[in-house]
């Protein structure tokens, strides 16, 4: 217990609410705070981080830390809980979040919406904390939705760029698809169990759910995961999300938000472990995402898009891990990935910043000399993501891949191993093309095979730069300057865990990590039944050989002296010969366009042309016409001739008399 002056419960509420206070403060008083917005925003993330560290002992106690906030109805009590799983996530969100906030002070310096940026970032952290600290499914769903909203704000941060706005809208729509999935899962849970608290759900789900209902709940939850964590086929928003500022890509679209799906599956681990069908589905989708993302990573030229596809691929690993039941491995990969991917993005941001917002790696090259620090940072990150022994990714990726084999999924294991090789290829490709060879920024873009130089980031003298991809609209002149310590400092700090954090899992079953989560997750029942055909050591060696092959191919294509010398011609050839299916990302966007957007537009057009004028408008029009017609009819009775009225009266009297005459004589008969 670090704090003697406040209770742990109060500290937890502070952890949850301080980022929200920051968001409101910076949003409301941004113009007054000016450049203070950055430090204030960072501090309001840094303090919760320290507080979370201080709550370590309370969270890891057997009962975990629980704060009851409000009870609305029986079974509908809302509260916060900090257990081991939430603790890991909270530490990453606030810790890595704090570093990225500090980095942003340097990166966003001079942006005219400096305070707004930090307001959004704080709001994002608040939303994410709501998601992971909630002790009930409704709080989770609210956090889930708010995170999507924060992501929308930040992707569309430079809203002068049409591409950023459409990317933001796309991300939001895709995320809402996932929200709806979770919502349906919540409906089923509330209907069957009558309570929204995790504790009640895990106690009663075995009796309350039929296997079929359980599968449906898992499916609904997984749709949410797939949308938020960019799993096939709901992944297409993630590469486009790189339109946001680079720190946003690092925090939201690499380190934290996109891994919310992993959290969700790990949180609902008892449900998943009870539904083998759902596990199978999640494992397969995860593996599919891992390999398809990695293959697409090989075909990208935008440094942030390469990293985006690598994120997608790595989250595929995590989802595969938690999907097959290797929860500890999946969560561990989340932990290591958060560090090395944040570091890769931030280091890439340093390069982008130094080259005046150039993002096309073909127009980089030779950065090793100009930006040695960024080179070291990216090199460390690349070694970690590839799983080179000793670096963090080695431990976690190995655990995930071997976990698939351990739980009896040899095919998923094979996909995981192959993906590791592809990962090594495209990450070293990024490294070689960016940092080795000659500087190609002054080469004519068409010589590099860039077809639309005005769209791919051009020389910094052209006027219409605001519309081109990935530029600060505010910055005009190029500056090859070393990054200030605000930007390099956080990256330097991140290098430490990137290298070392993996050693938490050192020592097999008795490692710190295994003990930390010992008994937390349900063990797969069939664990003992499957004896893996190869031991973990052999598997590790196999993965490493595949990684070496990937590295060798990358070196052969981009790293040799000859390849570096005529890199311009080689890159041109590669750009031109790039298979269309990869350039278009397997035509997912085109398929959505053809299957969903165009039919929706056609239906809309049909409603516009037929239903609106001929049903809705026609209904109103016909009502008016009928009233008019009736009016005409009754008008003709008003002849103005008194004698005609009298005649009508008389006829009426005759009718009445006739009626009674017939009625009575008829009744008499």
């Amino acid at each position: 217990m670090l704090f003697n002056f406040i209770s742990p419960e109060f500290a937890l509420v502070l952890v949850w609410l301080l980022p929200f206070v920051g968001g409101v403060l910076l949003w409301g008083f941004g113009p007054q705070l000016k450049s203070w917005a950055g430090p204030i925003g960072s501090a309001l993330i840094g303090v919760p981080f320290i507080a979370t560290v201080g709550l370590w002992n309370d969270a890891t106690a057997p009962a975990a830390l629980h704060v009851h906030l409000v009870t609305w109805l029986p079974g509908w009590s809302f509260g916060l809980q900090l257990d081991r799983l939430s603790l890991i996530w909270s530490l990453i969100i606030t810790g890595v979040g704090f570093l990225i906030h500090v980095y942003s002070i340097g990166y966003m310096d001079g942006d005219k919406a400096f305070a707004r940026f930090f307001a959004y970032m704080n709001f994002f952290v608040f939303a994410m904390m709501t998601l992971v600290l909630s002790d009930n499914v409704i709080g989770l769903l609210v956090g889930w939705g708010l995170v999507g909203l924060a992501s929308y704000f930040l992707i569309g941060f430079w809203f002068e760029k049409p591409s950023a706005v459409s990317a933001a809208r796309k991300a939001f729509v895709m995320n809402v698809v996932g929200d709806v999935g979770i919502m349906f899962a919540v409906f089923v849970i509330v209907q069957r169990i009558g309570s929204i608290g995790y504790a009640d759900i895990f106690t009663h789900f075995a009796t309350a759910f039929t296997p079929h209902a359980l599968f449906l709940v898992c499916l609904g939850l997984f749709i949410g995961c797939a949308a938020k964590s960019a799993q096939v086929p709901l992944h297409t928003w993630l590469p486009d999300a790189m339109e946001g500022p680079t720190p946003v890509s690092a925090l939201i679209h690499a380190a934290t938000m996109v891994t919310a799906g992993v959290y969700l599956i790990a949180r609902f681990a008892p449900l998943w472990s009870a539904s083998p069908d759902a596990q199978q589905l999640v494992g397969v989708i995860g593996a599919l995402t891992a390999i398809s993302g990695a293959v697409l990573g090989c075909a990208q030229w935008d440094i942030k898009r390469i990293l985006a596809y690598s994120t997608m691929s790595q989250i595929g690993y995590m989802i595969m891990g938690v999907g097959v039941g290797a929860y500890q491995a999946g969560v561990f990969h989340f932990l290591t990935h958060a560090f090395f991917k944040a570091q890769l993005f931030l280091a890439a941001g340093i390069v982008i910043h130094a080259l005046a917002n150039e993002q096309d790696v073909r127009r980089m090259g030779g950065m090793r000399m100009q930006l040695p620090f960024a080179f070291v940072a990216i090199l460390t990150g690349v070694l970690a993501i590839c799983g080179v022994p000793g670096f963090s990714g080695f431990f976690s990726k190995d655990a995930v891949v071997y976990g698939a084999l351990e739980t009896g999924h040899p095919w998923l294991y094979a996909v995981g191993v192959i993906t590791a090789g592809i990962t090594a290829y495209y990450m070293f490709r990024l490294l070689f093309v960016t940092f080795f060879g000659p500087y190609r920024g002054d080469v004519d873009p068409s010589d590099l095979g860039i077809r639309h130089p005005e769209l791919a980031g051009t020389a910094p003298d052209s006027a219409g730069r605001a519309a081109s991809s990935g530029h600060h609209p505010e910055e005009e002149e190029p500056h090859h300057h070393a990054p200030p310590w605000l930007m390099s400092g956080p990256v330097a700090i991140l290098i430490v865990p990137t290298v070392l954090i993996g050693f938490l899992d050192w020592g097999g079953a008795g490692s710190r990590w295994q003990r930390f989560f010992g008994g937390f997750f349900p063990h797969a029942a069939e664990n003992a039944a499957h004896v893996p055909p190869i031991s973990e050591t052999v598997s590790t060696a196999l993965v490493f050989v595949v990684v070496l092959i990937g590295f060798a191919v990358a070196y052969w294509r981009y790293g040799t002296t000859a390849a570096q010398r005529d890199s311009v011609a080689r890159l041109r050839t590669e750009s031109i010969r790039m298979p269309a299916v990869l350039v278009n990302a397997y035509y997912f966007d085109a398929a959505f366009e053809a299957l969903l957007v165009r039919p929706a537009r056609a239906i809309g057009g049909w409603f516009d042309r037929f239903v609106d004028p001929h049903v809705i408008d026609a209904g109103v029009r016909e009502a008016a016409f009928s009233a008019q017609w009736l009016g005409h009819l009754f008008r003709s009775f008003q002849t103005g001739l008194v004698r005609a009225y009298a005649l009508t009266l008389a006829l009426g009297a005759v009718c009445i008399v006739a009626y009674y005459a017939f009625a009575f004589t008829g009744g008499a008969r």
Partner: protein, 101 residues
Amino acid sequence: MSVTPESYVALSAVLFFIGVVGVIARRNPLIMLMSIELLFNSANLALVTYARAWANNAGHIFAFLVITVAAAEAAIGLAIVAVTFRRTPFVDVDEASALKG
């Protein structure tokens, strides 16, 4: 020969018919008002006849009500005719058709 209720009812019907024809066929407003009086009184005759025949006083009371209504009708009807005549002299009710729809 005794005067039976049927005779009174028959007289009432004849008077009513004369009144109806007067209202519909004549165009002079004053004659029409007189015909309306005939209608009222034929109805009164029928009411009183039935009241006596069935020894029920409701018919008598209703006849008094009809007389009151007839008085009011005559007053208002004559007033309307006088006022209308002052604005546009006419002898034919068909000419007063300003309320034609």
